[in-house]
Symmetry: C2
Subunit: 296 residues, 2 copies
DNA sequence: CCACATCCATAACCGGAGGTTATCGACGCA
DNA sequence: TGCGTCGATAACCTCCGGTTATGGATGTGG
């Protein structure tokens, strides 16, 4: 029997959510479409996968068997995709590197320059990773490695090489009252609304609201933004303030935004990350070596 | 990126055949359909997978990478399918057992009876395996095990339990001249046309034309049949003769067909086969135990 | 107790993807 | 030079996966 990986993703979403409506929303399809697809999957497999009730969808025995096997199928396909893209990059002498907007800094340029020197004729293509799904491009092989910032989600499948550590500062509208002071303590910011990234979940979100320094005090979200430009605009508009690495003051300098030192929060670390599911391609190995040299 | 396993099978066929037209024939689709699908796969992956030439399709580097990864993807999906069907069979208390038509005999009944005794409330569903693709049903989990005859293709992924060994005889039209003799030597049959199974390839085909006893003399195929009834009809019609296990004389007795002993050919062995990719389900384990008891 | 919210199923409709047949252009070969 | 074989292209049809709108069943709060 044939299946589409899309169908397996649908199944996985429903199994995880335990709810057709929510799963449909998560997959960006309509609920009837999901209903139809799940029914079809059940028919073709000749087994009921879920028991329907008013309070959602619960896995049956066969459903659990499928749920246990699906990650392996999807994983092996993603790996296949990665292998193809790696081979294509090798053929065209291109190394695709992703980067989180905030991870752009001088070190990045040093690494690329060193790689270029070691591999003349090769091109490095940089593509910005979305804040919402920062590691997606890496698992599917769209990029072979990426400059990211700690904390890094799902550390297990990736190798990490720390490049530099820098203090974090606070970004706020230039006309914000707190911008008067040249330096601030984090306690001064506790009541301010923050501008946050969208998919920022778990440890990553906690890090950028400095949860460890809040002592359990909740944070107020003034705006959620997807791209650096939106982020800067939101801050300039006064929707909220945000923590940022010190280098942002150089790379995202604007007249309507003030960056100020902050005492009492941990610094931020930039890393180079790459999937360690397979051996790195020779070109990537050179890039990693260049990064290792450039690291502090 | 999403794919259909069908598309991966298409790719695999083209990679193996090295030729679109032949691959299309093997897949039972038209050649333009395959052209379109392969093109689409290349576009979506952003890499050329084949170099086209007058003499066919040759894999590129990315194509080789994909070809290496595809068996893993398809294999894990087949395994998932098998797990689901096994769970469903467990739930409905059904054990599905396949059998090659020629493997039906008294021993089969003994095994089933012993299993029934050990698992009251369970049902055994027998379904006949096609001669063309005898092990298909087992890999996809449509049946959990099957009664087969040696030689068994692709032995590696299956566990085999021999059940009985019996001499082989020859089946021919009742009015065939050779039917006059009560017993024959295989050399007498060398010039006769044979009735063969369709997908009979390699060792299996060799076994049923007794290639080892022919001393290199080629065989003439008088007819190719898919089902036992066709097979019997072809023999009765005089299209050819065929080797058969001795038990066929009991299970496929017809007035217009004569079975005669043959000297000088090896006997045939019936085995119970099951996939050993995963641990057998408890019910299958009981069935295997029943078979082990019933074995000679 | 009734109005409402939630959850899944159903119906009717639409566009596109995948299949088909027919045909072409390029090349190797007898 | 004519034929056979290869893959590409065009025109067409069917069905599948998506959409919106709506219904039925079942908790739930004012």
């Amino acid at each position: 029997m044939d299946v589409d990986t899309r169908l397996l993703r649908y199944f996985r979403a429903v199994a995880e959510e335990g709810n057709l409506t929510r799963a449909a929303a998560r997959l960006y399809v309509s609920q009837p479409a999901l209903t139809k697809q799940i029914r079809q999957l059940e028919e073709r497999l000749g087994a009921r996968l879920f028991v329907r009730s008013k309070s959602g969808m619960a896995l049956t025995g066969p459903g659990q068997a499928l749920a246990a096997a699906v990650p392996g199928v999807l994983g092996s396909w993603v790996e296949a995709e990665r292998a193809v893209r790696a081979a294509e990059a090798e053929r065209t002498r291109v190394l695709r590197i992703g980067f989180l907007a905030s991870a752009a800094n001088e070190k990045t340029q040093d690494v690329i320059a060193a790689f270029r020197a070691s591999r003349p004729g090769w091109r490095v293509e940089m593509r910005q990773a979305s804040w919402g799904a920062p590691i997606e491009g890496m698992v599917s092989g769209e990029v072979e490695a990426a400059f990211m910032r700690l904390p890094f989600p799902s550390r297990e499948d990736f190798a990490l090489l720390p490049l530099l550590t820098e203090p974090r500062c606070v970004a706020m509208a230039a006309n914000h009252p707190l911008a008067q002071s040249a330096s601030l303590r984090f306690e001064d910011l506790l009541d301010e609304p923050f501008v946050a990234a969208p998919g920022a979940t778990g440890a990553f979100r906690d890090h950028w609201i400095a949860a460890e320094a809040r002592g359990g005090r909740p944070v107020r979200i003034g705006a959620v933004t997807e791209h650096p430009d939106d982020w800067l605009s939101a801050i300039a508009n006064g929707d909220g303030i945000a923590l940022a690495p010190a280098s942002a003051a150089r790379y995202y300098a604007r007249p309507d935004i003030a960056y100020r030192e902050v005492e009492g929060i941990a610094p931020s670390t930039v890393v180079l990350a790459w999937p360690n599911t397979a051996r790195p391609t020779p070109a990537l190995a050179d890039f990693i070596a260049a990064a290792r040299e450039a690291a502090d």
